[in-house]
């Protein structure tokens, strides 16, 4: 039980550290998985929409 509690502590600590690293150290582009909602059909500004 004691070991299990320690494991949970380290998981939480790791999660807290990972959150801070993700938020402030790693570039945001690494986590940008959202698909672009852009309705554009390219870079030539054809105005088709």
């Amino acid at each position: 039980m004691e070991i299990f509690q320690h494991v949970l502590v380290y998981i939480t600590l790791f999660a807290a550290l990972a959150y801070l690293v993700k938020k402030f150290v790693l570039p945001k582009s690494l986590f940008n998985t959202k698909k672009s909602n852009s309705k554009s059909c390219g870079q030539d500004d054809c105005g088709c929409h």
């Binding site: 039980m1 004691e2 299990f4 509690q5 320690h6 949970l8 502590v9 939480t12 600590l13 807290a16 550290l17 959150y19 801070l20 938020k23 402030f24 672009s36 909602n37 852009s38 309705k39 554009s40 870079q43 030539d44 500004d45 105005g47 929409h49």
Partner: protein
């Protein structure tokens, strides 16, 4: 599948744009930042007739497309860039029925970008009171657009507006004005160089600080196909453009907009005379500030106490219910206290934004800017900076968030950077205990030295903020234009819905934005203070139990037990009720024996906690920084307290209580212990006048608050500013504390 269209809300400040946005989107809205900058991005979803859905974007308020701030550039770039995912299918230009002429300048500019545009005339409920009549069909015909007459206060006209948005495809895309008439040859050359682009778009890129794909400013400036014009020539052409637009607007309004002057004016002019008066204006503002201050400082104490009690009970419950162990301790002392440390700020944030929202909604904030601008501007601050600076004396977190009302980025940044210097309430426990320890008794002009010291600390904080603002104003090379033009909007009764939205949104933004960072750091700080690698830490219980068994308690613990026992005995003796109710001699002995056992158990736990903290990672860090803090007159114990109080300044007292093996609530005992502490090098009391003043000055200037850092990071959208602030304030605090100690020792 329903179709979603993009709708952009744009308009002059104070036209009720946010109210229209709230009416359209209801609670389906979220607030964030535009990528990479701190301009607020407010977006929501609105259901339109025939199953059409609209993604509504509330753009920053602007008087025209001639940009003067980052906020306005964001609005213009979005309107220019068809490739932007938020580029509007239809733009709603929100106008104020009383200022239609000025508001229409922006309307004609947006119309000339060939974006389907609807003119929304807000505050229609004031028309009869102000003697205004508008010929809507004529206005629609002349502007080649649709007009919606709306009153967000009376909730009228919104359904028709939704109908018009749903039918946006029927809107004319013709421009109001042919911009090329101001310089036909010049515009022909530009058009020949970029045949695919509209002339007005190109004109904006040439004259403003904006870019858009695929035409960027650099590209235009490099274009050799047409001769570029000098700045003064461009300015002259811009003036011609504005005159042309106002001629167009005047011609329309002459026919479509009538005002019965006899029905207007009166109340507003009289109120303005008082609220912007050279003496009464400042007195009224001072009274309002005092009320805000009272709310943040005093009224919020009640909900804050309730939150505190709730988290204390929750901590107890977790400790009693869950199986004992490291993770239970983490939940109780790390996570719950971390969440408690975030939630506890909610009442202060809510009160501050309740008042700010009321002041803005009522139209009074513009009068504040007018009043305070002349006072604050010499220091590089805005008239609106006074609200964050005063609020900072309660707490820097809501104060930093309140800087969002300052439009000019440089003034806003300076206010954010200097606000943490003002004396917040978290400094108070530290100040009070140190002042009580080191400042001698006595009076000066009827005021005690202790009270004078406390007042001086408040003044020092405010002075440091002002001096830093002057320096930052000189050294920060941020290009931002600032104007003395202040619009005085009409006085309005604040809309409850808007006030509630603002309070909710700001609270949410703190809890879910900065709150996550604070929680993560709290967990790490708990870990560092509750874990250690050495055998001393791991075997703390055995070591201390054995030590106590062999040598008895430390002098400190013995004094603690004696004092507590004395208090308890006096408590029994003062119960001088009839003899029948008095306990017998044996009962008293039993009761004393029980109390002694309880106190000895508590003292043992406190000694173990103190020993553990000394040998934890945090303890080693405290000892590690001892050479750095020794020149300030501190020992490793104060070093640990300084380190842990980085989570929040008030933690300083709690940490010292743990180190000195006394309960957190035993303020008198902590004071006693601190007074008895001896500096091992000088052999003098550790907390003397020199080290006490040094410590007071350190806390007056140091950025000892992770929550403020997190909020500054969030408000500036960069680590550059909060880290710079941390380094500068810490170094400055260190140097001042060092000088003070070395001079006074």
């Amino acid at each position: 599948m329903s179709k979603q269209i993009n709708v952009a809300l744009i308009g002059n400040p104070n036209t009720g744009k946010t109210s229209v946005f709230n009416q359209l989107t209801g609670l389906n809205q979220k607030v964030g930042n535009y990528p990479g900058i701190t301009v607020e991005k407010k977006e929501g979803v609105c259901k339109l007739p025939r199953g059409v859905k609209a993604h509504v974007l509330d753009l920053p308020g602007t008087y025209s497309l001639n940009t003067t701030s980052l906020d306005e550039s964001v609005a213009v770039e979005l309107l220019l860039n068809k490739n932007d995912k938020d580029h509007p299918d239809v733009a709603l230009v929100i106008t104020d029925v009383e200022n239609l002429k000025r508001n229409l300048l922006l309307f004609t500019q947006i119309k000339d970008l060939l974006i389907p545009t609807i003119l929304v005339i807000n505050m229609a409920d004031r028309m009869s009171r102000k003697g205004i009549s508008i010929d809507i069909p004529l206005l629609e015909e002349k502007l080649q657009s649709k007009v919606a007459l709306v009153s967000t206060r009376k909730r009228t006209g919104i359904d028709r507006l939704k109908e018009l948005i749903a039918e946006y495809k029927n809107l004319s895309k013709k421009p109001n004005i042919d911009i090329s008439v101001i310089a036909p040859d010049y515009f022909e050359k530009i058009k020949n160089t970029f045949p695919k682009e509209e002339s007005y778009k190109l004109w904006l890129v040439i004259t403003q600080d904006v870019n858009f794909m695929p035409v960027e400013k650099k590209l235009i400036q490099d274009a050799s196909a047409f001769s570029t014009k000098s700045k003064s020539e461009l300015k002259r052409l811009q003036q011609k453009e504005t005159i042309l637009r106002y001629q167009f607007i005047n011609d329309i309004l002459k026919q479509a907009y009538k005002v019965d002057i006899n029905a207007a004016k009166g109340f507003r002019a009289n109120l303005d005379k008082i609220l912007t008066h050279k003496i009464f204006g400042y007195l009224i503002f001072l009274l309002i500030l005092l009320t805000i201050f009272q709310a943040i400082y005093e009224w919020s104490v009640y909900p804050m106490d309730m939150i505190d009690t709730f988290f204390a009970s929750a901590t107890e419950w977790v400790k009693d219910t869950l199986p004992a162990g490291a993770f239970t301790d983490l939940i109780a002392e790390g996570i719950l206290s971390g969440i408690g440390g975030i939630v506890i700020f909610i009442p202060q944030i809510a009160f501050l934004f309740l008042f700010i929202s009321l002041l803005e909604e009522s139209g009074y904030m513009s009068r504040v800017v007018f009043l305070m601008d002349r006072v604050m501007r010499p220091f590089g601050l805005s008239g609106k900076s006074i609200v964050p600076l005063i609020s900072g004396t309660a707490c820097a977190i809501p104060a930093v968030m309140a800087t969002r009302t300052i439009e000019n980025w440089k003034e806003r940044l300076i206010t954010i950077l200097v606000t943490p210097f003002t004396t917040c309430s978290a400094r108070l426990p530290v100040y009070l205990i140190i002042i009580a320890l080191v400042i001698p008794e006595g009076t000066f002009l009827g005021l005690s030295y202790k009270a004078l010291t406390l007042m001086l600390l408040y003044l020092i904080g405010f002075g440091a903020a002002i001096v830093s603002a002057v320096i930052l104003n000189k050294i920060l090379k941020i290009k931002s234009r600032s104007f003395f033009v202040v619009e005085m909007p009409s006085y309005k009764l604040p809309l409850l819905k808007n006030v509630v939205y603002t309070v909710l949104e700001k609270t949410k933004s703190f809890v879910f934005g900065a709150g996550k960072i604070i929680l993560a750091i709290s967990i790490i700080l708990w870990f560092l203070g509750s874990n250690g690698f050495s055998d001393d830490f791991k075997n703390a219980e055995e070591i201390i139990t054995q030590r106590v068994t062999e040598n008895g308690f430390s002098a400190n613990s013995e004094t603690y037990i004696e004092n507590k026992l004395l208090e308890y005995t006096q408590g029994i003796n003062t119960t001088d009720s009839p003899s029948a109710n008095n306990p017998s001699g044996t009962a008293i002995q039993d009761s004393l024996s029980l109390k002694t056992t309880e106190l000895r158990g508590r003292a043992l736990n406190q000694e173990i906690a103190s020993y553990k903290l000394e040998h934890s990672y945090m303890g080693y860090m405290g000892k590690g920084i001892e050479p750095i803090v020794r020149p300030l007159g501190y020992d490793w114990k104060i070093g640990i307290a300084v380190l842990t109080s980085f989570a929040a300044r008030e933690v300083f007292v709690g940490t010292l209580a743990t180190i000195y093996s006394v309960g957190n609530d035993e303020e008198e005992t902590i004071k006693y212990r601190m007074a008895a502490e001896v500096n091992p090098i000088t052999k003098k009391p550790l907390f003397n006048l020199a080290s006490g003043i040094s410590l007071l000055l350190f806390y007056a200037f140091a950025m000892q608050c992770v929550s403020t850092l997190a909020v500054v990071k969030r408000e500036t959208n960069s680590w550059k500013w909060p880290l710079g602030q941390l380094v500068f304030m810490s170094l400055f605090a260190y140097i001042v504390a060092l000088i003070a100690y070395q001079l006074l020792k």
